[in-house]
Amino acid sequence: MSAPVIEVDDVWVRLHGQTVLEGVSLAVYPDEFYAIIGPNGGGKTTLLRVILGLLAPCRGEVRILGTTEAEMRRFLGYVPQFRTFDFEYPITVREMVLSGRLGHITRRPRRYDAEDRARTEEALETMRIADLADRQIRDLSGGEQQRVIIARALVGDPKVLLLDEPTVYVDAPTEAQFYGILDRLRERMAIVLVTHDIGVIPEHVTRVACLNRRLYTHDTNEITPDMLEDAYHCPVDLIAHGVPHRVFSEHSKEE
């Protein structure tokens, strides 16, 4: 297998006197669809923020494409869970997606060129929001806004797309559509999906890990009952939680 795009090596994070991440290590390979599940407050968003360089771990390191240099972050596409920006901001869909190219621009002053614009139109097409390009982001529905956020992450040609609870704001049909889009994107980049909802793990996930301060992983795409028990600290009834059959070891090869 080729070299990993993301390596997290023995990362510890302490926030407000509490240990949030404890010796977390993981590697994401170029063709992977990595799902990280775990309870709320289990440190999922914190782990993503450490990978993105938004939070410095108190121990351990993160390597992107083999190095710890901050400029490698431009190879990461990020879809945050919480709205990290103000939807009342005067900006059009096209401008917001274009802004995802800023990490790649080396000339000064930073101005967009034909390539940036072409990539933007491509990302708008991929997310099927080309017809919304000139609208203000505040005039969009929740699902449309979510697609703009993903388009902004895609426009920088990321090697990995990091998604934090991407479906909490959207309804069920939109969610199905959304996983369809992820399946298409998989051919071009690795995907790391973080969610507290074990029912949403899509069928094409290649690896699953449970995070609750520590990371529990079995290097397969199956959620095993003992993994969940370790992570959630209580026996979890998989069926009662609506986990589809495919995540069970016995049935995982059927589909």
Binding site: R73, T84, F85, P90, T92, G103, P109
Partner: protein, 269 residues
């Protein structure tokens, strides 16, 4: 009513009002979209400490105010970025401490501080020619910096987290923006005074926000509105023989109320 234009002080006042409006429109736009209204209020009141310091040291109070506000802006920005202090409490402390320092310095200075009042409430009719030149230079600097860093400022005021991921120097850019706010505030002190600065900085941009869809168009409309408000205010204050700074602010506030009403009607359709 146009005979007053023959007086140099009146022409100076109109020019100063127009120049201040340019800075307000450009910088006020960032203040409004990034919701930094109270930070700017804190910076402008801290300026009073600098004016007191200027009196105390026997230098031009405006030079004292410039140094003091820039230092305050950098200090607050650094604390916010590093210490993650509760920003509203911090602003409240800086706001009051700046005023308190100013009062102490003025008290400790022997003699009487003759134009203290004009720093608090502004007196655009007394703006000397040299100050107008200084304002013009400051505006050229502000507009040049904003033009050069337009994309960067858009990114950090829109989504600082994502700007960090894209490896922009978010911290340095945020501090630079705070310095530009501080310089704008000092410029406005002459026009409307410390206490009223915040209104002229935010109202034109807030009205403009209702009718524009991009940062640059929001800036252009805010500049135009600022010029209309200050010229109208100065003229009214002359006709009615009332203080100019307060008149400019009341004209702006009425326009803001009107704009909100229009927006309400538009959305009701």
């Amino acid at each position: 009513m146009f005979e007053v234009l023959e007086f140099e002080f009146f022409r100076n006042a109109l020019v100063a009002g127009a120049l201040a409006s340019v800075a307000c429109g450009v910088i006020g736009t960032y203040v409004v979209v990034r919701r930094m209204v109270s930070v700017s209020g804190g910076i402008s009141h801290a300026a009073f400490g600098g004016i007191g310091l200027g009196y105390f040291l026997g230098i031009d109070p405006l030079i004292g105010a410039t140094g003091f506000t820039v230092a305050t802006a950098l200090g607050m920005g650094t604390l916010q970025l590093r210490a993650r202090q509760q920003m509203d409490t911090l602003i409240g402390a800086v706001w009051a401490a700046g005023m308190a320092l100013g009062i102490l310095f003025v008290y400790l200075t022997p003699g009487f501080a003759p134009d203290l009042f004009s720093y608090l409430f502004g007196n655009i009719l007394l703006v000397p020619r040299d100050d107008i030149l200084l304002m013009a230079i400051l505006i050229v600097i502000i507009v040049a910096v904003v033009a050069y860093l337009y994309r960067e400022f858009q990114a950090i005021t829109f989504d600082p987290d994502y700007a960090t991921v894209m490896n922009l120097p978010v911290e340095r850019l945020s501090l630079l923006l705070l310095v530009l706010i501080a310089l704008t505030v000092v410029m406005l002190i002459q026009v409307v005074g410390i206490i009223l600065v915040i209104a002229l900085l935010t109202l034109p941009a807030a009205i403009s926000r209702l009718f524009t869809t991009r940062i640059w168009s929001m800036m252009l409309l805010a500049v135009a509105l600022g010029i209309v408000f200050s010229v109208t205010g100065i003229w009214l204050s002359y006709l009615l023989n009332v203080p100019s700074g307060a008149t400019i602010i009341l004209v702006s506030t009425l326009a803001y109320a009107g704009a909100l009403g229009v927006e309400r009607l538009r959305q009701g359709d």
